[in-house]
Symmetry: C2
Subunit: 442 residues, 2 copies
């Protein structure tokens, strides 16, 4: 490996010889002295080179100065010189007096995006856009969040799954389904790991989790949708109702948010002015019907024919919860059977409602959870009532015919959690490479 | 949640009332006493019920006995009764004297697979096959292995990526590519995260990892291939050569194997008779040309026209390494440029060899790693020499035009590692749901 000091470690290093490697953020090419701001994955530092002059003030041969003048923004290089602490230097209180530059790859001088470039142009040049400290931090936060979740799962004896993304049939609905040419036949991309994470239940796995891609051929262009997204899924056995799933969900979010706050709270506050709040448990729970009444009392009538909430209704109920309980999360529970998939269990004694919930975070839905119907004869009836052919679902229904425990779980959109945690305006900012109806590149 | 004791915790529990939940493994329905072996995700326990008789020896009304007699293998239930320690009981030294059964879902009595069912039939009924303790353990080992790797990465400041699996073009070769209908155009499934994990380098992410699916439209039916597999990828900046990648790779494997040995070593030994060996570092490194000479000296001439090794050659060199160095791993290094992708860096001064390696574990290739060519003009020439059109790769070549650090990494097949660690005969056993040319179900 190149011998280098990570830039974030320079303030704690002692004065003397130092090498750093990174890319050129800015060059200030002044008459008497040159400054380069070099950034690596951990921070930025000022490199300085006083130009060489003879005693009479005439410029001397100065190859290093020429090299600095020729540096294009974005060029990756290793810089060596003398580290010096100087509290007048705003950038970390240190600078490096340059002795040599070793250029790894020179950048084309014209940078295709600027600070004011529009979102689509930024996505065209995502690898440059990601050089921004904010964007880098988003993915370090993602890393911390996921690792905290996985650590919770592993410490609680969950099994990690990688379910197949190639399927012989739809997992959710026949709409929004991508078709794949598969040798002499065709396959479909998994819209969720639903069937296969449930399969772990009759398999006797007990508690499972998966973090992986899901695909929706959804033609919408909202700030919350993508055709490919990272789905965070968990499923557990021997629940009594969706209440048990919500408890798991809460504990997981607390573990994740606590880890993010501990590791990145100060940076998040500095870069976005956002304070990460570790949620208190239990999160508020409001049955959907009551939530609609509350929203109506606030003067908003959800303009939908079905029984569902809409995005503005979710914002309204979130505002109510924030005002009333000072909480950023709310479980909306007991959705109507008419707007839930056939595999959600319905209330005992009231077929019109399900043992299900949506989790709203800062006004946007981030997750759907439910107890699953595990009684195969009931499941078949529910599938029929949704207009599905049980024959097509036979491989799935088999999971229930040879014994299965009561179970439930949730699926959650990773990028939505990040977007709402950091108050970003669009899921695209929280996705490494966004995929939408007109976006397959880079 | 159902109040239950995990079966593995029964031996340490005190005698008295206990409830366990799981599925019926066997029923021994004897005249005087009935035995049920119930299994959950953690183990198995014997439930016992002495049939009821009047003093004169005539049978009494005994609804519990009737319920037990009616139990089908696979039925999921909660059993309550009195826990009793009894060292004569082979299964954990405990049994539960039954008081009640609460059936969650009764199984169809005819079980579609038996102990001697063939592999394909087992895959048809994978959720039943997974109930076997060995199969359950495979995925608990997978969980431990992955978590150890991720912990290593996170503690070493790697960023976790989720790169898109939908692409506008091929990432590896135009052969073995799945095509997806994508709105008014078409997309391809990622054969590897190669381009996008490299993109993190000009993005300034430094060190990254990803565990996610990769797709190959490979029509082969070997014990090592699947059309969808879980790829373990890592990529790092500022390397001097592939040697730096191999060092990372070794450290990661040591961390993973140490965690598996510590947590599951005894179970693995008990179930498979396999001792997990934490590899010593450095792993042996043998240039491919030398490996071919060694194999030839052992009497095996690799029957290939190109410069590559073949599976038997890999077994032979692994046997040599085991005999000579007592090591299960070997890096074969410096593959010929002719058999490596265009993006592998070639030797300084010898265009015919690459800064690359394959990692062989117990005789089978589990990974390919390399230093990547980061000099765009060299990269363009190498692409052309492979018959590729630089125009089609333009979005990828752009990653190198605006500055990029020297970098390298590897991709590794998760199921192959598990298969070889546990001495399984087929990757299908180490895959939750296998996908092959004729296998899309369940």
């Amino acid at each position: 490996m190149t011998q280098r000091t990570l830039i974030k470690n320079l303030p704690a290093a002692t004065d003397g010889p130092a090498s750093v490697s990174g890319w050129v953020e800015t060059v200030r090419d002044q008459k008497k002295v040159q400054f380069v701001v070099l950034r690596d994955e951990s921070g930025a530092v000022q490199l300085v080179h006083p130009r060489l002059f003879a005693e009479d003030g005439t410029p001397e041969a100065d190859p290093l100065a020429e090299a600095i003048s020729a540096l294009a923004q974005g060029t990756f290089l290793t810089a060596s010189g003398e580290l010096k602490h100087d509290e007048r230097v705003k950038l970390g209180g240190v600078e490096i007096k340059l002795e040599s530059l070793d250029i790894a790859a020179a950048a084309i001088p014209e940078t295709p995006i600027a600070d004011d470039s529009a979102g689509d142009k930024r996505m065209d040049w995502r690898f440059l856009d990601l050089r921004q400290p904010k964007n880098n931090l988003i993915f370090r936060i993602q890393t911390t969040l996921e690792h905290a979740w996985r650590t919770y799962w592993v410490e609680n004896d969950f099994i990690e799954l990688h379910t197949p993304k190639l399927m012989a049939s739809a997992s959710e609905s026949k709409a929004e389904l991508f078709e794949v040419g598969y040798f002499d036949t065709k396959a479909y991309l998994a819209q969720s790991p639903q069937f296969f994470k449930q399969m772990a239940q009759p398999a006797g796995f007990g508690k499972i989790f998966e973090v992986g891609p899901a695909f929706r051929a959804d033609p919408s262009f909202t700030s919350r949708h993508a055709t490919e997204f990272t789905s965070v899924d968990s499923e557990i056995s021997w629940i009594d109702s969706h209440e048990d799933v919500m408890k798991l969900h809460e504990e997981l979010l607390v573990a994740g948010f606590a880890a993010v706050k501990a590791k990145h709270g100060a940076e998040i506050e500095a870069l976005w002015g956002v304070e990460v709040t570790v949620p208190t448990t239990p999160f508020p729970r409001i049955p959907l019907a009551e939530a609609k009444r509350i929203v109506a009392e606030r003067g908003y009538e959800v303009p939908r024919q079905d029984d569902d909430m809409d995005p503005e209704g979710e914002r309204q109920i979130a505002a109510y919860v924030k005002e009333t309980f000072d909480h950023e999360f709310v479980f909306l529970t007991d959705y109507a059977s008419s707007i839930r998939p056939f595999y959600h269990m319905r209330h005992d004694g009231d077929d019109s409602l399900t043992n299900s919930y949506d989790l709203i975070f800062n006004g946007v839905e981030i997750s759907t959870g439910a107890q699953r119907e595990h009684r195969v004869e009931v499941l078949v009836e529910q599938a029929k009532s949704k207009g599905l052919e049980p024959e097509e679902l036979d491989f799935y229904l088999d999971f229930f015919r040879y014994g299965v425990p009561p179970h439930g779980g949730f699926g959650m959109g990773l990028s939505r959690v990040l977007m709402l945690m950091l108050h970003l305006s669009n899921i695209r900012e929280a996705t490494y490479l966004f995929r939408g109806p007109t976006r397959l590149l880079p």
